[in-house]
């Protein structure tokens, strides 16, 4: 779009005045704490007195990457986030497609139904999952009652439970992100592919997928970031031995009051999330422009 607009005098000023509150808010609420936190992550910590000592050291970062406990927490987090966001894509695409192509007057209601789970807080929902998937929970009790199993299946406090929980939280974000993009794709383009001899699978691969790519990318990034930073779900459904990054950070800050290390872990999580997102973005964009 190239739109040349004559700018009346003073419009620039009005625009800055309108942008200022949000900008100031973001600076104060996001960048300032991040800056302070980053400074903390370079400080030293005395375990005996549980106090932070002013310093300029990378000891916290070294500690993270040399301790297998923390490294495995990071790897688990990345793994869970990847599996859950890919699952969201696979589960969400058909749903988003049907929703985008629907012309019923119930469509707004269905969109609300998709968003409805978000009305329940993560911790409340996770508590519900605990009831459903516990060893004596709804699923196991039903299966045993029906005589289908003799020993309760272990779902609670496993990676499975966490992944299922995260998918449930993130799916609406994926569906909405895909739906809005698919809605912008002319239905006639799909029909054109059909009439030119493309069966549905080929049409999907050659037309729908490339055109939906911005939505796929947006949904993947959103769900990946949400999963990387998930706190309540891994904490409640993963149990005491399951470690993901967000609960680890919380633990460092509150239980151990180790601010420098907590800050370092937080920065590592942010850096990993950001760089994985950027790399994926670049890879997909390069592929699609080829």
């Amino acid at each position: 779009m190239s739109l040349v607009v004559d700018k009346p005098k003073g419009r620039g000023l009005t625009a800055s005045a309108l942008l200022a509150p949000a900008t100031i808010f973001i600076v104060i609420s996001l960048f300032a704490p991040l800056g302070i936190l980053f400074r903390y992550s370079l400080n030293d910590f005395v375990p005996q007195t549980k106090t932070m000592v002013e310093a300029l050291t990378t000891v916290q970062y070294v500690k993270f990457f040399t301790d297998p406990y923390y490294v495995s927490a990071l790897l688990t987090t990345v793994k869970v986030a990847l599996i859950s966001s890919i699952s969201c894509l696979i589960l969400g695409f058909p749903l988003a497609y049907v929703l985008a192509r629907m012309q019923s007057r119930f469509k707004p209601l269905l969109i609300i139904a998709i968003v409805l789970p978000l009305f329940v807080g993560n911790s409340v929902r996770a508590a519900g999952w605990m009831v459903v998937f516990g060893n004596k929970g709804f699923v196991n009790a039903s299966l045993m009652g029906l005589g289908l199993i003799h020993q309760s299946i272990e779902i609670m406090f496993t990676e499975k439970a966490v992944i299922i929980g995260i998918i449930a939280v993130d799916l609406p974000f994926m569906v909405l992100s895909l739906q809005s993009v698919i809605e912008g794709i002319d239905r006639a383009v799909e029909e054109a592919a059909f009439s030119l001899g493309a069966p549905p699978a080929t049409m999907f691969r050659r037309v729908l997928w490339p055109l939906a790519l911005p939505g796929i990318l947006g949904g993947m990034i959103l769900t990946f970031i949400l999963a990387m930073n998930a706190y309540a779900t891994p904490f409640l459904l993963g149990g005491p031995t399951f470690k993901m990054m967000a609960p680890v950070i919380y633990n460092e800050f509150t239980q151990k009051t180790n601010w420098p290390f907590g800050a370092a872990v937080a920065f590592i999580l942010m850096a990993v999330t950001l760089s994985l997102t950027l790399v994926a973005n670049l890879l997909i964009q390069r592929r699609s422009t080829r």
Binding site: A188, V189, E191, A192, S195, L196, G197, A198
Partner: protein, 354 residues
Amino acid sequence: MAELQIQKLVKRYGDFHAVRDVSLTVADGEFLVLLGPSGCGKTTTLRMVAGFIEPTAGQVRLGGTDITSLPPWKRNAGMVFQSYALFPHLTVAQNVAFGLEMRKAARPEIDKRVEETLALVRLEGYGGRLPRQLSGGQQQRVALARALAIHPDVLLLDEPLSNLDAKLRQEVRVEIRELQQRMGLTTVMVTHDQEEALTMADRLVVMSEGSVRQVGSQRDLYERPADRFVAGFVGRSTFLDGTVEAPGRFRTDGGLSLTCAGGQVSNGGGKASLSLRPERLEVAAAPMAGLDNCLPGTVEFVSYLGAMIDIHVRLSPADRLVVQIANREGGFTPDVGQTVHVGWRASAGQVFNK
């Protein structure tokens, strides 16, 4: 290319009949236009031929083969959409090559055919552009090239010109028609624009409320419309309402007794309309001799259209006619309020039951 046969095609959505019992044959190389107002079932019929809509009943045969239950990707029908539906992420050449790739043609063959087809629509050198870098008229030509590249058995055009501006539309009409004739393409086009339909078609099908009202050449539809709807939809008509008194005699609601074409048997005093072509009526300041009907009236409205002038004349409190006269130099142009005489031959009108 092949002959297309549509036999007793029906499409129902619940209680709604989108298409009722439509049967048509499009000869090899013929350009058939489905003409009708929106919601008349013309697009639904076309989409059933393309395979996008499954008919409730009936058959579609292409080149003698029953294709009714074939999915669109197995039909070899080239379709041009109203929105063009070009693949926005592919270049012009890739768009045109798409159908050939689906047919697993070899690369050199595809490249050759793409080049030929782009030359056909006068878009040489545009192969590397993306659709959004083209004008509306160019996009339309790419859509046509894409449909032609697969050497379709039938070419389907769904209001292909409605997104072009008026001037361009007139050029593209001729262009498509010439291309179609040169290549001998069996073509079905859907449109609601009668001028477009009249300029392009070999034969026209007028549809309304899901049914075929009349099939015929331009002349058939204009000179011998089958009913009041066709008379009003193809060309212009001006109507006088009344009853048929006796064969060849029409009495208007305003009490005027008129001579009308014979053969029209009285329908037992039921309501009828006398349909007249405004351009077949004559108007003069004094009574005219040698016409079957000549009536005095008052000019109520005059609209100046450039080449033509429309004159609305009231013949009686219940009867008003539109007369169209050519705007000749020194010709008679009445003013509003003036008393004039309107005359016509009986053969200029046709009586339809209401």
